[in-house]
Every structure is written in C-alpha cells, then in structure tokens.
Symmetry: D2
Subunit: 370 residues, 4 copies
C-alpha cells in the first residue's frame, strides 16, 4: 500500500490538527505510505468546500455518510462534536474503513463499549487520539522507566488542568450538559492523564474518586436564566495500579493560569521523573547515582536522542509543537494501516481509559475495582 486515502469529518480545533498531521506525515517521516487527502466533510457544504481548499483536500461533502462510503477513503478521521463519535465510528467500521477517532471515545461508557465491540469484529484498524503519549519527552520518560533508570516504581502523581471553564461569568453552554458533553473535566482532560498514567504505570486496578461542580449554574445566553451545570469541573482520585502502587490524580477545567498543564511525577526507588506538557520539550529526572554534591533534578531538552524528535528537527532544543504530536500519531496509524498491524490505543485499549474516568465520576468516595 503506497498511499492511503484520508477522509476527514470536522474542521474545528482537531479537524485542522488532523489535516496538518496527515499533510505533513510523509515529509516528516519518509517511511510511511503517502496520505492522499481525498475528502473533507463539514456542514454546510459550502464551508466544506472552502475548508477543503484551505486544508488541501481534493473533494468536499456535507454528508458524513457519503464520506464513510467513499471508495477513495481508507481512513476516516472523526473530529466532530463528541456526541457524534459513536454513530460515525460504528458506521465507518461497518463500511470497512479504518477509523481515527478523537478522544473521548463517546459520551457514555455504554457507547464506548459498543464501539470497542464493533471494532473487535471489523476489518478496519482503530486508533483514538491520545496524542500526548506521542511526545518524545514523554516517550523518553517511559523508556527510562522501563530501563530501570529510577529503579522500581513506587508512586505516581498526575494532574491535568486548564482554565477554559474557570471564569464564573462564562455563559451556560452545551458543555454543561450530560446529554451533549457527557462527563466534564474527566471526559475532556482527565482521560488524557489516564492514557499517560497507563503508559508509564500499567493498568489501573481501582480508584477512589471525588468530583465537584464549582459553578452549580451558569446563565443561559438565550434567556438570561440560570441553568444547571450537570457535569464536574474538578475531579480527584486515589488510584491503585496493577502491582499495588499508589497513584494520585486530579483534573480541573476551572484552574486559572493552567493552559495545558499535564504534570506527571513517577517516584522510583532510585530516582524520580517529572514531566509537564506546558513545557513539552523538557523532561526532568533525578537519579540517585554518583557524587551526592552534584545530584539534583536534571532538565533534559528534547533532541534527536528522543525519538522521533529528530524527524522534525535534527538539532536539540529547537522544539516541536502540539500539532507535531498529531503528526506522530497519524504516522503511527498510517504504518498500522499499511502494515496490517494494530495501532495503539485502539478502541479496545482506549475503552480502558474510559472505564477509569467513569469509575472516578461515579465513585463518590468509595473504592471502585476495575
């Protein structure tokens, strides 16, 4: 398979990100099949046409069903509002396509389970857009842990905060509803941290969770009346990983000053590794080794030693950006699709992340075994 046809549904934040990623993947990596930007779907159709021109797609449509049935399309990228993920993904899989779906998988655990079940029986490959685990700095953290650079892992802390729902004066939106948004901070942000925790620590065995809605109501922009916020602004949990290691987790969408804070600490018997996505090109490590008088946390700047950074820039410290993470993800999926291998995280694996956030959401201070 020398080239792969891409169909993209959605042109918002993530839609543009996918377009850039598939547009750059071949030039960056060389060793992937060439993506053909075949078909873009947006509504209305005129907008689809304009965005196809901008994003470099050959054709446009206003009907996602046309896209998932288009013979030139091999991979369907789903970057729609979350509530549409399940229906489109299932239909695309049933149409024989490969599916690159943004996170979270769906609004409810039931939907996500259905998606995973359908994927298990489909011929298409699946992947969910947990792009932060692609970061070379983060990947290097995992590699170091696997190599024993900090000894046996004994403790984990992971936090993910933004401030897009911090302002008390923000109007009420669909984000506040279970029906349109599902979970709150957990679904939008927390699931990323679970993907990162699992990457570094292995599966989560149990959670004790506690959630809070900071702003019980927000004012409707339609009629000026207060309407209820149905999902959580803040969620915290004590985790236990397979093997019994304790973890701490917290997420907030109302944390002023935090823009893309995804801070991880892994404590080991011989050292510690810290990472924060807000300084995504840095990794900090403390190792108990050598002369005590020069021990301290070392701040590593990513460079060609940290794959696949070097595919973007051959010189350390020059830095990759957020969109580059999606390019790595896209390349990974292109290789899987071309090679007939599984991608990670597939619907099956991403479902496990969903299970964790839903368990935290419903725990109410009691331990939930996963």
């Amino acid at each position: 398979m020398d080239s792969v046809g891409i169909g993209l549904i959605g042109t918002g934040f993530m839609g543009k990100c996918h377009a850039l990623a598939y547009g750059a993947a071949k030039a960056v990596f060389g060793d992937v099949p060439t993506p053909r930007l075949e078909l873009l779907c947006e509504v209305p159709a005129e907008k689809a046409r304009a965005m196809a021109d901008q994003f470099g797609f050959a054709r446009a449509t206003g009907d996602w069903r046309a896209l998932i049935n288009d013979p030139a399309v091999d991979i369907v990228c789903i970057t729609t509002p979350n509530k549409l993920h399940a229906e489109i993904a299932i239909a695309a899989l049933e149409s024989g396509k490969h599916v690159h779906c943004e996170k979270p998988m769906a609004l409810t655990l039931d939907e996500a389970e259905t998606m995973a079940r359908v994927a298990a029986g489909a011929k298409g490959k699946t992947i969910v857009g947990y792009n932060y685990i692609r970061n070379p700095a983060f990947r290097h953290a995992r590699k170091l842990i696997e190599e024993g650079a900090i000894g046996r892992v004994i403790h984990f802390r992971g936090f993910v905060d933004e401030d897009y729902q911090a302002d008390p004066d923000l109007p009420w939106t669909w984000r506040a509803t279970r029906a349109e948004a599902g979970l709150g901070a957990l679904g939008d942000l927390g699931c990323h941290m679970i993907s990162m925790a699992v990457e570094l620590m292995g599966p989560v065995r149990s959670v004790i969770g506690d959630i809070r809605t900071v702003h019980a109501t927000r004012v409707s922009p339609d009629d000026g009346t207060p309407r209820p916020v149905e999902n959580e602004d803040i969620a915290s949990a004590i985790l236990e990983f397979d093997g019994g290691v304790q973890g701490l987790f917290s997420t907030s969408r109302s944390a002023w000053g935090r823009k893309n804070y995804m801070a991880v600490e892994v404590h080991g018997t011989q050292g510690m590794i810290c990472f924060d996505q807000e300084r995504m090109n840095e990794l900090r490590i403390y190792q108990n080794a050598g002369d005590r008088s020069v021990q301290g946390f070392t701040t590593i700047m990513t460079g060609p030693e940290h794959e696949p950074y070097g595919n973007f820039v051959p010189a350390a410290g020059h830095q990759i950006g957020f969109n580059d993470l999606k390019t790595i993800e896209a390349a990974s999926f292109l290789r899987a699709v071309a090679g007939g291998t599984d991608a990670y995280p597939s619907f099956r694996e991403a479902l496990e992340f969903e299970r964790v956030i839903h368990a935290i959401a419903s725990s109410n201070g009691r331990r939930v075994i996963l």
Copy 2:
C-alpha cells in the same frame, strides 16, 4: 516583662535552630522582650556544658527535670526525640512553665490529647513548632486569599516530600517503629502540610486516606537481619474542608530529589496561588484581571512588603533562610508570653493537625469525618 528566661532541652537539628532563633529574636525584631538563654539540657552533662558554651546559654544540665523546675526558666523549649515530648511538656506545664514544643506533638493521638487537656488547665502558654506557616511568602499567600485576590477558593492541593528514607539500602532504625517514631511520613512531614492547609483553607472536615510502606523491611545494623518497617513511607488523601471545598494531599519520605518540597496550590474563582518551600522566597500568583495578552503566573520575590521579611533584610530578593522562620516563631511566642495572650498554634490547635494525620493513617480508603 522585659526579659524571658529560656530553657532548651535538646541540641540536635531543632535544638540548634531554637538556640539560634531565641538568640536572634530581639536583634531582629526589637519589639520583643529580651530572651535570656538561661539553661540548656542535653545528655550527657558534659555535652550539655559544651553545647551551652557554643549556643550561648549561661548554664547546663543533664537533667530535664532540673530544667523545668529552674526558677530562671520561663519558656521550656522541647526539641528532644518525639517520644519524649508528651512527658516533658506535661511536666513543664505542671511546673508552671510556658512550653515551646517541636512537632509532631507526640507519637499517639492519645498523648497529644492529654497534652492539650493539661495545657487547657495550665497557666503557661503553649506553641508547637509549625515554622513553615511563618514564612513571609506563605503568610502573604494567606493575606492575598483573605483579601479575595483569587476570588472564592474552590480547590486545594498540598504535597510534602523528602528523600531521607528513599534509599532502599538504608539500614533499619528507630524511625521504622511505631513505638519510637509513631507515624512515618505523616508524623514527620505530613503534619506540616496540614498546618499549612488549615492556614489557607480552614479546618479539615473529612479525609479519605491511603498509605503505603515502600520498603517492608530494612536490614538491622545490629545483626544483619531484616526487620519490619512499621510505619508509612507514603500517604495520600482526598480532603474536604469546612464549607465543602475539595483538597488533595500527599506526602512521601521516599521521594528522591525532594529535599524540602512543600508545594501548595490554591485554586480560586478568579486566580490561583502556588507556593513551594524549596523556593521559600518566592510566591506565584495568577490573577484573572486586565489585559489577557499579558496574563500569566507572576513570580513574586519576597521583600519588605511581605511581613516580617523586612525585619531581617530591608531589600527585596536578598532572601531569608530556614532558621529565620524559627526566629519569627520564637518572637511570636515571646510576645504571647510577655503579653499574656495566646500563641498560635497552641497545643489545642496543633491537636487538630494531629487528628487529621491520624485519620489519614487509619482511613484505609474510607471517608473519616473529623
């Protein structure tokens, strides 16, 4: 009362710290009664004599009972091993002395409760050595929160880590025993964070705690056999403060690279304040105000605007150190003793911190109401 007689029991880490603090308090603050360094107790008596010479105490003794009955002594400073705190403090109070006791109050909650009960009926004042709440940067954080600089407080995170028990090869010591050390990380480190949390957030209403002993045994230096570690290396908890705000807490004495990490985040509806004792002369604040394009976390360096920094140095950014915090505490106690007012935290108030750490220690993943 122009001068106050000081009797110091203990000459280790904290003993020296108290000696320096009472030695400097008058020169630093001016407006406190002059401390007279009267009597120092250490065993054996020869060591007491030598340390009295070094620390500037007039007399020395090897008998703490002599010290607490010495008529020239007004304040008894207790910096002994923790297991002796209760007996000495109670005897000193019964002898009519004021008591400056290091934290934690005692090994068990029972002992601490007895101490508080005796103090309630004594004529002497009491104070417990929670010196980190004296830090001008930290005090400024509290002041800003009280003034509404970050709006209504909605979330708290507090962590306190060191690495003095991180090395798997450390020999077994008394620190590993309930009988000699009581709690582990919670008693040594965690209680400090509770004092800080209460300072910023008010009383803790409930906890859900989970503790871990990383190294189940350590090798006895006496006979080379493994002996059990009876107390926790790591403790984490979800807190709830009066008023219902959620907090997150974690402490470890086995966290490589952390030397005096006491990191606090207070999330508010209009901003966030962050502090870390490892950069004790800095405070970080984000405020949702003014031009968005220049918003960010501001790193404040402590200076004369942050009381009582200016009593140490009149120029900002020059920095105070750890021992200076104890000087502030000593001055505070000198004023209370001279003025007949209560000091903070007295045995009564510090007992509340003890209740929290013991609740975390025994929670086992269940919510404990305080």
Copy 3:
C-alpha cells in the same frame, strides 16, 4: 495570483524545514496563495527524486540552474551550504524569480552586498530566513515594547549559544574554515540575535567586539593531523543602538548545555521583558504598576492573543514548534509575492545584520561605527 510555484534547493535541516513550511502554510493560514511544490533540487539526482517523493514535490532535478529557470517555479528557496547562497541567489534573481534564502546571506560581506545590489534592481522579491523573529512570543515582546508596556527602552542584552562545537574531541571540518564557512559563531548564530536586537531596539549604530577561538586546532579525520580553526567559537560585543541605548551581545557555539539558547532582555524605565527561545512559548515581563506586594516577573504562555499563534492552535499553552516559525515566514513571503509588496527582512535589510556581525568580527576591541 491564486497559487505560487515553489522550487527548493537543498534537503538538509533547512531544506526539510522549508518543505514542511510551504506544505503547511495554506492549511494554517488560509489567507495565503496556495503554494505548489513544483521542483526540488538535490545532488545526486536520484536523491532529489527520493526527497521529492517524501517532501511532496512534483518534480526533481540535480541541477540548480534548471530549477531557477523552470517556468513553473516562482519562489526559489535556497537552503544549500552557505557558500553557494550568493551565486544561486543572484542567478535566481536574474532569472526573474523571487528568492527565499537561508541565513547568513553569504560568507563574506562583499558577497552579501552584491546580493543586495542585485536584489535592488530585480523584479523578484527577497527574504532571508530569520525565522526567530516570527515567534508569536517574540512578536508580542515587540508589540508590548512599542505600546510602552515597559516605558522608554534603556538597555539591551542578547545572547545566543549552542554547543555543537563544544566538544574538544570533535574532528576538524569545513566549519572551521573561512573559505567554506566564513564566520564562526557569528555567522551561524550571532546573526540571528542581531535580527532580534534590531527588531526590538532599532538599528545598531556602533559595536565594540572581541572574538575568541577556543580550540585553535582540531584533528583532521582524513590524516589525523591537527588543522587550524580559522573562525571564532565565541564573540562578545558592546553595542550602541540608534538613540544611544547600550546593548550587550555574546554568542558561542561551544557552550555546553545550550541547545538553542537565544536569550533577550530589554530593560525599560517602567519594566523589563525577557525571552529565551529555549522556552519559545513563554515570555516574561515585569511591569512597575499596581500593588508592589504582587509585583514580579509574569510568565506569559503564548496563546491566541499572540498572533499568529491562533492559526496553529486555538488554545493557549498547547505550543508551537520550531518548524512552525518557518511556516509563518513562508506565509509572509507568499503574501508579499502575491501582493507585490516587500517582504521583511529583504536582502537589503538582512545586509544590515551582516554588517553588524562582520564589524564585531573585525573590531578587535575598538569601537566600529556602522
């Protein structure tokens, strides 16, 4: 002009960077003419073919003269070894093309002057690849300064360091020769800082420079004999800007640990702005305004408020990377070419940067008026 034909000469670090930039510019910005990746030149021709496939160019050639005469090519991107810049750029301009040339312009000031002279009489537009001035954080610094956010500017410091020539054991290469590399750290790194200094401070009026070659010789990989290093590893200078403000400048290619350190400080009568390219998504500002007790350096994370960050990602703190800077530059040139306006910095303007670094190189501790 709806689309613009791109011809790229060179496929190394900067060649790939240009390919990615022109490949992404339309998708990122929308409001630029669509670049057509027409022709790629590399030697040998087989490599050109392979790289054209990877980078998405329609055709390939091993002959740069064929490229600059190709009718489908509008813009000639020159990313060859520096010693070829002048010849190719001049030929391309004479062929009627627009020229996007990497920095430094040429090995000698004479060559650079010739290039500028030819450009002045040519119908094609020119631009030199000073991509760091495209950084939204840096642009915001400039905007803030222009708006008076730090009052009147009174002092400048700028440093640019890497460590690619730090290792004493590195073999001798062409980089060490005047004939192949021209200047050392000044030509490779220092010129970037001059572009940044001029952006923030205006033209440089005089310099007092001092240069050093740390490693007088390096061992030839060919015959194992020591061969001379003919250009500088380190250069420092005291600058004076138009208006009389003093600046300080230093650059090193032998600075261990520095990977892309480009640190700038602008001191003003009402504040200070600091920037470092190694944290390219951050800007630090101190403003003398409001309550003294909360004054400090504010660390701004770039976001949509800082143009054109939002064209890459609509959410703050997610970060752009090095290659994105070139995309901004490419878009800027596409707009200039399509609109018939001048690009910045053109050969004329970039020549001024060259004058400064050559003046520093030859100053030998004496003031040189520019």
Copy 4:
C-alpha cells in the same frame, strides 16, 4: 584567644547584618572564638543606646573615635555610609584594631589605595564584606571548577542588577553624587560581581567598559528643581582574565524586577556552571558525560555536602538566607583574628576589585590594562 571584642559602627542594613552575624557565629560554627558584643556606635547617642539594647551590645557610644580606641574592642566593624569608610578604617588600623569594612572600600581609588597601604603596615587584620562569595552554592561552583568538573574554563558572563534606581520619579538623593556616593551601579553592585568573577576565574587583566546614566537629572526633594545624576546607572564591559579567557560583565541599578540578581555563567570545555543569587540555594551544572539522552542542566539544591551549609541546617533543601552569608564571613574573620592568619579578601585583595570597577568606569570604550 577565647573571645573577641566586637565594636560596630553603624546600625543600618549592614549594621544589623553584622550584629546578627557576630551574634550567631559561635552558635553556628562552634569552632570560632566567642565574639563579645562590646560597643556599638551610632548617632545620636540615644539611638546608639537603643540599638545596643536591641542588638545585644553591652555598651553604646555616639563617637566612633571612642569606639576605635576602646580597649575591649578587638574588631571594628564599619557599616557607615561609604564616604566614611576610609577615614574610620585607617584610624582603626592605626589604633591597632582589626577592621571588618563593608564594600566598596571607599569612594575613590586613591582612598582605597591608601587604606590598603595602611593595612599593609598595620598589625590588625582586614577584611572587606564581599559576602556573596561565602554562599555555599557559589563556593561549590568554585570547587567544582577547580576539580575540573567542567574542563578548562573558556568563557565567563556575570551580571548584577537591582531596581532601586529604576523608577524615573524617584527624587534626587546623595546617591547621585560623586562626592557622597562615588561610583553608581559599579560601586554598589558591580564590585560584588568582580569579587565573584575573580573567585571563579582569577585576576582580571584588562577591561573595555561603557557606562550610561539613564536619568540625567532627578528632582530635588528640597527645592523641586532638577539636579544632575553624576554617576552611572548601567555599566557593561568586556573583560579579559589572566590566561586570556574572555568575560562579559554588566550591572544596572535601574533594572526593573531584578532585586538581587547576580547571575554567573562559567563555560568550560566539558560543561557549564550557572548560578544566580536570586536563587541562592541552587546551582546549575551541565556536564558532558555519560548517556546523551539524559544530559541537561542539573539544579543542585544546597545541602550538607556544600560547606558550610551543614553548620546552619543538617538537611538539604531547607535553605540559608542572606544574613547567614555574613555569619560565614564573620566566622572567617574571627578565625583569622584568633589564629593570626590573613583573612580574604583583605584590603590588599579588595583593592584589586576596586581597580577593576574604576577601570570600567573610566574606560569609555577603550581597552584598559590592569
């Protein structure tokens, strides 16, 4: 000599600092002779009496000549306005006393030379208050450099900034006059950096300096008229050290946001060391050694490995403060006085620092050989 009598002249910023330092030195270090706080001089005499009470001095006087002739006084601490240093120091030496003089030595180089000449013939020891070279973090930097931790030293950068003269609206004061203040930023701040540079790099051989007065006039608080600022706000220089290594130097007293910025970089053939007094308990080092993938700047927190930190606190990361540096200096002088050895920097050595700052002040862009 078991005890040493201290006479202190001055009770401002540095006077209090000396009082605290000599008050604490014995308790902190143990191995020094006991300082007896004998006599304090301030004007008027009533203030002297009050400050003696606060600082713990036995007696008070309003006459510095009485102090330098007091038989109980062994060490004379001079913390008066700078213009009095020379007269008092010379008189004290002639009276047979040891002299602990604050920096800068004097207002003019002539005066400083006279002081050094008198000291050379006196029986008393001398020391000048360059307290920043006492910092354990800084001393460790020196030790590491001496041990070759960064290979051969090849470049130096040193900056020292404060903002106490940044505000354009500050009134005119004596600080602006040659007669009362001597040099500006160089005399107050810059000389500290020279002491630090010499400590790490050895003697300065030549300088090329350039100075600026940002605010040509300031308004007199007396009559509201503008009066000239006679000394420099900013000074920069290119240095050359013995051995030929290049250094860069800059200082400003008008640098908003900088409170006690003393930033040092030492570049070596195998690494780099960075230090900033604003984070005085940290040291950063990069070493070219071992696995490239984990190389980076390591942030060392000071601890007992870094002498004499452990004399203050036995646990790393707890931090010492500014006043503790003076305690180390006082202890050093007490040892010298008791042992009959020379202290560092004596008047002879400190004179060399004075030569450098005066050379920078008068260089006017020309190389000055020292």
